[in-house]
């Protein structure tokens, strides 16, 4: 009985501002907290429920022995390889698939034939040039031979970018087989056709830089989830491959410098004595040393040697192999000790890259290794290389290609400088994802690009304060998140809309929010490192990532993966209203007096007011007045007091003490406008000047994902509330984040204010004058 009273009438409501919106009862399928198991594959002995490789985890292995010759006069490659393929799957294989990525450049490729018409209103020479070149260019792998280890021809068929080899006899589980492939292909002019590897010809000195990638017939991945990777190479979905050991002999013009995946096996045959001496010095140095100086490279450009040299490289446990070659290369190197391992950090670039490249490239490599190793595992390879050539940015094991260069006069913009550092961090970072944690980019771009963009952001922030990061800060993602032209992150690589935002920016932002706001750094970093280590040199699927992050943190993040990775909803939480609830004292002398006071505050009825001068009938005939003309239900009666006394006596001592609570009961109503459930980050300011910051977990939305109320027991009156005051959650509309509601000035108005603000202008002028002074000071310091 008592409890009924407590719950029904002890609280009287004082509504401060309530915007009643239509209730939509959440349906089951809309529950953002339902478990992800219904979407993820069932765990098995290859992939465990914890997100770790299962106790019967397997993956294939392929070793390569390659001899290749670079023909500079024809821009062509001629190669011969022996592949040794190990079947570690439980299935017999009657045929093997090999990838021929250069076939993307054949005139009849899916890539070329599935392109839609360009826009003819404004049509650039470059576009026309690429079209015409693609029309005539006889690109693609020309396969000259497919034979078994003894040299007998093997039956085979070429289907688009894939080559099928029919084995005379199925390769049994646990077995291995060797076979040989011979090929040649025309190298792509990378300045005219967008590509991940190709050549750049310099008209002025008639020299060429070659960046050679996706160049040899490579084993298609055969996996427990897809069988043979059956997606043709179209353009965007890069690749996944098998790990193995490589021995590659590269024959190039005698005066070329070759940069490559792996460790050089014959320095005494290809390097001068002086270069070998400089390498010895660089092994002891802490900053990059020239192995080939800018002057030497310039000198080397002048003449072309007629002879050839063969550079032999070996690489262990890599999933691919790439290289670069030119007589234009300057080469700098330093042996960098990072997290217990010695790594050769090296850069190769032409004089056109100076002075930017010798200043930043190798430093950026070292920095990337330091930061990424901290968050994942120590870099396990002996080499990390950055090469400047025609490719804007592309990653391979131990080596990557990066495009930015200064202007011809050696000056460069701020954007070029940070563009270069950023792309080097990104591409060197790809060594970790997907070169070592071998996810399948032909299926899922985000898993390596998104994770890598996230780590890139962490590395940028450790490079210098206020580094101009593009991807990572939550609020930078808002415009994309509210756009309609998008697909979920969990979309196959070739079908993604708004590629950069979808596969790079949004997952990077999501992981950053997970780290800073939802899990906290300690918990996130532990779980993330666990994922990296579990899947080092193995092939994770998206589910393995989601599962490991939960397994290692003991936090159910299914709602987060579901919202951020499987939907296109955005974040927009709103404060909808605030209600102040008063505790009923049960004392009629207090309560009725309060009610009377409240009634006095009500406005006078308009008719009553206008009739005030009118002589009423009861005034003319006082005999019409009786008891009810004086009766006020808010007058305290004896009965009221007796009833109150009875109620009080029914309460026990504890309950009577509770009645005297000096707290204000605030019910704050929140609405989820954007659809994504997120923690509620609430800043409360009280009238006494104190402040409080509440972090309410996302689970607050589990009973109703659209509208909830939170009870705050306040000691003082609340003056104002603000949601997400530090812009942590990518909340799209900050106008509904305030109580009392506060119009947020539009960007337009802020800008207009700014340009009208003479004080700020004056201050900026002053700052500018100061800035101009300072470089001079710096310069004079250097002189001294």
């Amino acid at each position: 009985m008592v409890y009924r009273i407590l719950s029904t009438c002890l609280l009287s409501w004082l509504s401060l501002s309530v915007a009643q919106a239509q209730e939509i009862a959440p349906r089951y399928e809309d529950d953002p907290f339902r478990q992800l198991e219904e979407l993820l594959p069932t765990p098995n002995d290859v992939r465990a429920a914890s997100g770790a490789p299962g106790h019967r985890y397997w993956q294939q292995r392929a070793d390569y022995d390659i001899k290749v010759r670079l023909l500079e006069d024809r821009h062509a490659l001629v190669g011969e390889e022996t592949i040794t393929y190990y079947n570690r799957s439980p299935m017999p294989l009657s045929y093997l698939w090999v990838q021929l990525d250069q076939n993307r450049f054949r005139p009849d490729s899916i890539d070329r034939n599935s392109r839609v018409a360009p826009n003819f209103d404004q049509f650039y020479y470059k576009q026309l040039g690429e079209l015409l070149i693609r029309e005539d260019f006889q690109g693609g792998h020309q396969i000259t031979r497919v034979a078994d280890a003894e040299g007998a021809d093997l039956d085979h068929a070429i289907i688009g970018t894939m080559l099928r080899i029919d084995l005379p006899q199925a390769l049994a589980p646990g077995g291995k087989t060797s076979f040989q492939i011979g090929w040649t292909y025309q190298i792509v002019d990378a300045k005219r056709i967008r590509t991940r590897g190709g050549y750049e010809y310099f008209e002025e000195d008639k020299n060429t830089i070659y960046e050679i990638a996706q160049w040899f017939p490579r084993m298609v991945a055969y996996t427990d989830v897809n069988g043979w990777q059956n997606k043709q190479f179209i353009r965007r979905g890069e690749f996944t491959l098998e790990f193995g050991d490589y021995r590659v002999a590269i024959t190039a013009p005698e005066d070329h410098i070759v940069a490559s995946t792996g460790v050089l096996q014959n320095p005494e045959e290809v390097l001068t004595e002086e270069q070998r001496e400089r390498l010895k010095k660089a092994a002891e140095a802490t900053v990059p040393q020239f192995i080939v100086t800018p002057e030497e490279a310039k000198e080397n450009e002048k003449e072309k040697a007629t002879g050839e040299k063969t550079w032999v490289f070996e690489a262990e446990n890599v999933r691919d192999f790439a290289w670069a070659s030119s007589r234009k290369f300057i080469w700098d190197a330093v042996k960098h000790r990072t997290h217990g391992n010695d790594v050769w950090a090296m850069s190769y670039f032409p004089n056109e890259g100076e002075p930017l490249w010798s200043k930043y490239s190798t430093h950026a490599i070292m920095h990337t290794l330091d930061v990424y190793s901290k968050f994942t595992f120590p870099y396990p390879y002996p080499v990390a290389i950055s090469v400047n050539g025609p490719v804007g940015g592309m990653e391979y094991p131990m080596i990557c290609f990066n495009g930015p260069r200064p202007e011809k006069d050696g000056t460069y913009t701020k954007r070029t400088k940070y563009g270069l550092i950023t792309v080097i961090i990104h591409e060197v970072g790809h060594n970790y994802f997907p070169m070592i944690v071998n996810s399948d980019e032909r299926q899922w771009t985000w898993i390596d690009e998104g994770i890598n963009s996230f780590l890139q952001f962490l590395a940028e922030r450790e490079w210098e304060p206020d580094y101009p990061s593009r991807r990572g800060p939550a609020r930078n993602m808002v415009p994309y998140m509210v756009s309609t032209d998008q697909v979920p992150i969990m979309t196959n690589s070739e079908s993604i809309l708004q590629f950069g935002h979808n596969a790079y920016g949004k997952p990077a932002t999501a992981l950053n929010i997970l780290r800073e706001t939802i899990m906290g750094r300690e918990l996130f970093d532990f779980a993330f490192k666990e994922f990296s280590r579990r899947w080092m040199f193995k092939r994770p699927e998206p589910g393995d990532f989601f599962r490991t992050m939960e397994d290692a943190s003991s936090v159910d993040l299914d709602w987060f993966w579901r919202g951020w990775f499987y939907t296109t909803n955005h974040v927009d939480l709103a404060i909808e209203g605030v209600r102040l609830l008063d505790l009923d004292t049960l004392d009629p002398d207090i309560e009725k007096a309060e009610d009377k006071a409240a009634r006095d505050l009500e406005p006078e009825d308009i008719t009553e007011e206008r009739n005030s001068d009118l002589k009423k009938r009861t005034e003319r005939f006082p005999e019409l007045v009786d008891f009810y003309n004086h009766y006020d239900p808010l007058d305290v009666t004896v009965k009221d007091r007796e009833e109150a006394k009875r109620l009080l006596e029914a309460l026990n001592d504890d309950e009577r003490a509770l009645l005297k609570t000096q707290r204000l009961f605030y019910a704050i109503d929140f609405r989820n406008v954007g659809g994504l459930v997120m923690p509620i980050l609430l800043k409360i300011k009280y009238e006494n000047g104190s402040e409080e910051f509440l972090r309410l977990p996302a689970e607050i939305w589990r009973s109703n994902s659209q509208k909830i109320s939170k009870l705050i027991l306040a000691k003082d009156r609340i003056k104002s509330l603000q949601l997400d005051p530090q812009w942590e959650t990518a909340d799209a509309d900050v106008e509904n984040n305030h109580w009392p509601s506060r119009p947020v000035k539009s960007r337009f108005r802020l800008f207009k204010d700014k340009i009208k603000n003479p004080m700020r202008e004056a201050r900026e002028e002053k700052d500018k004058a100061k800035e101009e002074e300072e470089p001079e000071k710096e310069a004079s310091k250097e002189d001294a």
Binding site: G393, R415, Y504, R747, F751
Partner: protein
């Protein structure tokens, strides 16, 4: 074929080598806020456009490397000319409205462009807007414009194949 080439010939522009961006594809999305202001019967517009894309396009047009520094008056003129050429606004009575250039600023990798469109009518009813920022240059360019009047909101989407959109007929 001949017609096509001739047509193309008019617009052929000199070649600038745009780096391929395998590592981080360009944005190709601009997002704008367009607020209807009752007192002035105009739209106040703030557009967020990728600086990298803008620099690439304007450098081609200017035939020199251009850097948006957010300060230089000369760059502002180039931007002003470009952006005013990207918009066409037509009122219900077929009168063309010319937007007013307010200014621009640079924030990280975004350029913010401020324009004002005076309608001289109490509503946008029957008005059409062409938003051609970067849509000639980038095949995938999408321009989003969040239009707002009081509590009413609507997002317009402009692409190469549908660059004209009707403004909402709100009151």
């Amino acid at each position: 074929m001949r017609r096509f080439l001739k047509l193309a010939g008019i617009a052929l522009v000199f070649v600038v080598s745009a780096p391929p961006q395998a590592w981080g594809h360009p944005h190709h999305v601009s997002v704008g806020m367009a607020d209807w202001i009752e007192e002035t019967q105009s739209i106040e517009m703030a557009l967020n456009v990728s600086v990298i894309d803008l620099e690439e396009v304007l450098s081609k047009r200017q035939k020199r490397a251009l850097e948006l520094d957010g300060k230089s008056k000369e760059i502002e003129k180039v931007l002003q000319k470009y952006f005013l050429s990207c918009f066409r606004i037509e009122r219900a009575d077929k009168v063309a409205i010319v937007p007013k250039w307010i200014g621009y600023e640079i924030e990280d990798d975004a350029a913010w462009i401020y324009l004002e469109i005076p309608f001289g009518r109490p509503s946008m009813k029957g008005c059409k807007i062409y938003h051609g920022v970067l849509i000639q240059e980038f095949e995938e360019q999408v321009n989003l414009l969040h239009v707002k009047r009081g509590k009413q909101r609507k997002t317009l989407k402009f692409r190469k194949r549908d660059p004209w959109q009707k403004l909402p007929a709100w009151h």
